[in-house]
Subunit: 363 residues, 2 copies
Amino acid sequence: MVQRKSGHVTLLDIARACGYSVSTVSIVLSEAPLSQNVASSTREQIRKMARHLGYHPDAYARSLRRRRSQTIAVLAYDLSDPFCIPIVHGIQAGLQPASYMPLLVDAQTQRKLFDNYLRMILERRAEGVIVIASWIFQETNLLDDVEKNQVPIVIVGRDLTNRNVSSLLVDNEAGGALAMRHLIELGHRRIAIVRGPEELFDTELRWAGVRRAAAEAGVKIDPKLVYQLPNITDSISGFEGGLHFAKEMLASDCHFTAVLAFDDLTALGVVRGLSGAGVRIPEDCSVVGFDDVLPAAVSTPGITTVHQPLKEMGLLASEWTLQAITAREQQKQKPVQLHNASPELIVRMSTARVPAAQRKTRS
Amino acid sequence: MVQRKSGHVTLLDIARACGYSVSTVSIVLSEAPLSQNVASSTREQIRKMARHLGYHPDAYARSLRRRRSQTIAVLAYDLSDPFCIPIVHGIQAGLQPASYMPLLVDAQTQRKLFDNYLRMILERRAEGVIVIASWIFQETNLLDDVEKNQVPIVIVGRDLTNRNVSSLLVDNEAGGALAMRHLIELGHRRIAIVRGPEELFDTELRWAGVRRAAAEAGVKIDPKLVYQLPNITDSISGFEGGLHFAKEMLASDCHFTAVLAFDDLTALGVVRGLSGAGVRIPEDCSVVGFDDVLPAAVSTPGITTVHQPLKEMGLLASEWTLQAITAREQQKQKPVQLHNASPELIVRMSTARVPAAQRKTRS
DNA sequence: CGCCAATATTCAAACGTTTGAATCTCTTGA
DNA sequence: TCAAGAGATTCAAACGTTTGAATATTGGCG
């Protein structure tokens, strides 16, 4: 292999090696329209040489010239949250056929990293940005810079349509109601609720759904059985919160037959806490989660939960982004969209009919 | 904001806006050595204008000129495997201070995707490649192209030093022995083993460690209690395998008091299978896993497992890669290295002393 | 007054690719 | 014989940045 100072094979190397100009080589290898009137013998020769030398076009030079990076940035708030992964998969699936490269970055719930990566994304001229969101976006002026540079944004996991950003999220209200209705239908009346952290937008919405379902069934929620998770510190803090509140529930003299947890990790924490005190799940107490992440599926008992169609949402997010890019090319404006995905109840083994003996018990 | 055809603010825009040449602006904004003799008033003016216009240097133009992409590719075989995430975090932590950008790609255990992304990585002129490996690398000639282009490679999760690639992995043999010894010390003698899939290199090594520990303690492994997982189809297949074999164990007339599973997901499958038949963990049967991934920590009972220092390995991988890059710059050659990380036993709740009643039981 | 050395700024070429326009070489038909 | 066209290939400029060399503007000193 020929060694050039840059260490990479260029068009010039190939041109010299087979006696044509750089233009011809470029036209052949990039399969430009002009290549149809390059002699087929020439074409063959050039292609063979390119393969032989191990040529790979330089994405930097190409993007600079074409003014296209063929890149879409995916900014996840925390990849260690199993929640993000299916979304990323959906996005990748959507980008693949369009031969766009996802520029995947993990902010690890750190504001500093987030800013840093956002800058890098801008510098790398991503043609679009998909943000997988959480509380980290309380102050969304961060995205101003992206908007200034006219880069289309789509956000997953939060509604930012009021800030002119297309958004995809699960219908949290409906999901909360789904979970609550499930417990009520199983005969539960004394239901403990672990609400999410205040900083999360999902919290209020799910809570609204829970109350609606309760109201519709004429079930009262005892305020003494309502708990609220503290703000998130790391990806496991939901679990610890659930564990902590389970112990608190048991310590209080307040009777309950089911727990509706904010998310799956919290539910798993609750299960741990209750089990530790000898409470059997689901015989003595039902537990329901939210999200349907991997740990909920593989634990024993499997956690009954509200599934979010994350992969589908990711797929749609990538499609919207691509559409916005082509729209911008044609000087058109793609309207801001909102997708409220329908959640689905996944019944596993952590919920059961309330035992007859307990049905009338009061604290 | 000024609108240019490319949609991005360039040095020329700033130069025109404040009446200096492109060179001066570049020198100031890139903080080149020459900038020390640019009048400080000029500096201030240029910087202010850059901020005002929302300038971000074009990474493509810059990399093209500097012949440096400031990028290191991280090629993970499957991000939905919780195993990968801590490694990625470690890598990111190592790359951050060097202001290198990780180009994170997820092959989703698909060969086609893998090839595709490898090509893209080469085109994007990554200065180094870190591969988080698995069976997908059986035929490693894929990496030849990377080597041809003199891009340093480091591999995590497999020993490829015989192919001249620096490698980091956990000491699987020691880990296997650790798990086995733990069970033996708890008094278990009838131990079922679920070996990993044949295609994984880890399988043989862990198995060797298990046998060594057994031999050292004078414990016999009953071949009828040894199972082997089929090859991996997706990220949850370990769980299903464990579930399946647990049922098989129970169906056979072979007595056992503990199960040593290939990894955590398998262990969780085993727990599910045994629990379903009324076997209590750990009172009636102990279960031990391997890897220490999130689901093992948050399930109930928490799974006793062998921890891999994944984050540290990721960190070291990034450091090695950076070293290899600087070595190459100085025309030096960095020798191929191998790191065998020490595993650590994490005792949770899925293992316990064998009950006295069962100690002498035979099938 | 002329010269030197800072100090401050600009020129121009280069990185590797793409592409509209230009050139060159044939063939063909009038 | 020559113009017209088609076919094959090349020219040259451009994308946005960096940087060694060059230029212009000072002030200081002999």
